[in-house]
């Protein structure tokens, strides 16, 4: 879901780009953050709490809260809410604290 009309802002459709979420092809727009592209594609659960494994979604959206930590191109704990989506990115749901390789 995306906002198409806004009383003040002029919203222009931008170029569509593809990425992979858990191996599956998805699409976002140029200028999206990873989390925004996922959200727009209906992916609302971005991580799980470490101890009780409760679902965590788009929360602070400014890179502070750690709710959107995901593994991107093999790098764990990427703050997907402030990381720009690039064509071909491999975004993976991350269980636990992430693995550093």
């Amino acid at each position: 879901m995306r906002i198409k009309e806004h009383p003040i802002l002029e919203l222009i459709d931008k170029e569509k780009i593809h990425f992979f979420y858990n191996g599956e092809v998805m699409y976002g727009q140029v200028g999206d953050s990873i989390a925004a592209a996922l959200h727009a594609s209906g992916i609302k659960v971005l991580s799980k709490s470490i101890h009780l494994e409760r679902p965590r979604g788009f929360y602070c959206a400014i890179g502070n809260c750690s709710s959107c930590h995901m593994t991107v191109d093999g790098i764990p704990n990427v703050k997907t809410c402030i990381t720009e989506l690039l064509p071909g990115m491999r975004v993976e749901f991350q269980s636990g604290k992430g693995v550093l390789r």
Binding site: I50, I75, P76, N77, G96, K97, G98, V99, L100, R101
Partner: protein, 381 residues
């Protein structure tokens, strides 16, 4: 208020001394702290416990303390988890001179029964695969060294001491100590006065000031040592990695964070415990050289705490030879947490006139008055 013993300082040393005194039958024990439980050096320490030392006194204190940590949960009947993890300390030798010194240290450690060993670079890389192979020559490893949670361990002593009747008073800062007669003291705080027969100085960074209050000059000073901690990550490093020549210790705590520190050779002798950008900069450079992968992690926060330094980097655990009834456990030089079980055992034995578990003459303040040279500990970061 009248008590028999007043202990100044509710860190790991003060709580261990209180517990050990009460366990041996001492009554009317009061512990005072100017802040909260662990608010001094204990709660700011690097949470490592090791036996790989370069002097006999430090080796013996450390070994017997580790033996206690192994049974601490049961002995203290603690309901929580003290997070004792024995996955070793890997100490890197980066110079030929260090390799020689470490070989000597390991011989000393073996004499005392500490299971340390010299390991080659290849063996070290098997123990910690993400080490930079070009940053060191060889290493020593002791698998029974490890990690322990300072807050939980102090709480375990605190709870056990309270069950044995020890009274704790927090946010009470000692202002002065009067000796009203031989073996009788009045300890004045900002809130109360305590009459007692024995006073224990376990004030960590402020132990010199407490000594001054009874007119004795304890040859210790405090200096700031800083630490930083990263975001947590799944477990990737078992042992503490340490280097004296590179000036670093770095371990992954059970929570998953990496905790690391180094000393500032230019640190002034004072009570500063602030955080500096210089430390962050130097620490980051050092860890990226030795453990490059750790450099990928974000720093979460920094803090500082006081090392209470003694002239030979070994603790002072004794009764004052000048003021009878005044006892001290200070000058741990950054290692009071890992020695605390023995600190409590030895000082309680000294105070109650019991035979001591170890020969404590090497820990006596009198060693600094003698002209003979004592061992000096060099294995300090």
């Amino acid at each position: 208020m009248t008590s028999s013993i007043v202990i100044i300082g509710a860190g790991i040393s003060g709580t261990s001394i209180a517990y050990n005194l009460a366990k041996r039958g001492a009554k009317d024990i009061v512990v005072l702290d100017s802040g909260y439980l662990t608010n001094g050096a204990t709660g700011r320490c690097g949470a490592g416990v090791r036996q790989q030392w370069g002097t006999e006194a430090n080796c013996v204190m450390a070994k017997k303390s580790i033996e206690f940590f192994e049974i601490a949960k049961e002995e203290l009947q603690y309901s929580g988890d003290i997070e004792f993890k024995q996955e070793g300390y890997l100490i890197l030798a980066t110079t030929k001179q260090e390799e020689l010194q470490f070989a000597k240290n390991v011989r000393l450690q073996h004499k005392i029964g500490i299971p340390s060993k010299v390991v080659t670079k290849e063996e070290a890389l098997q123990i910690v695969p993400h080490l930079n192979p070009n940053a060191f020559l060889s290493a020593t490893f002791c698998k029974t060294d490890g990690h322990l949670n300072p807050f939980k361990m102090t709480d375990a002593y605190y709870q056990a001491a309270k069950r044995l009747g020890v009274q704790f008073f927090f946010y009470e800062s000692v202002q002065s100590i009067d000796q009203v007669e031989l073996g009788k003291f009045v300890v004045h705080t900002n809130k109360n006065s305590y009459t007692c027969h024995q006073v224990v100085n376990a004030a960590g960074g402020y132990s010199k000031e407490i000594g001054d209050m009874v007119g004795i000059d304890i040859p210790v000073y405090s200096e700031n040592h800083e630490i930083l901690v990263t975001e947590p990550i799944e477990k990737m490093q078992g042992p503490m990695v340490m280097s004296f020549s590179k000036n670093i210790y770095c371990q992954q705590v059970p929570h998953g964070s990496f905790l690391m520190g180094r000393s500032n050779p230019l640190a002034p002798r004072d009570h500063d415990i602030s955080s500096s950008h210089q430390f962050l900069d130097e620490m980051a450079k050092t860890v990226c050289e030795i453990l490059p992968l750790v450099g990928e992690l974000r720093v979460i926060r920094q803090w500082g705490g006081s090392y209470n330094m003694s002239p030979d980097r070994q603790p002072i655990i004794c009764e004052s030879d000048i003021v009878k009834g005044f006892f001290m456990a200070c000058g741990f030089s950054g290692h009071g947490f890992m020695f605390a079980p023995m600190t409590g055992i030895l000082l309680s034995e000294i105070m109650l006139g019991h035979p001591t578990t170890l020969d404590v003459s090497i820990l006596d303040i009198k060693r600094f008055h003698l002209q003979t040279t004592t061992d000096v500990e060099h294995s300090v970061v």
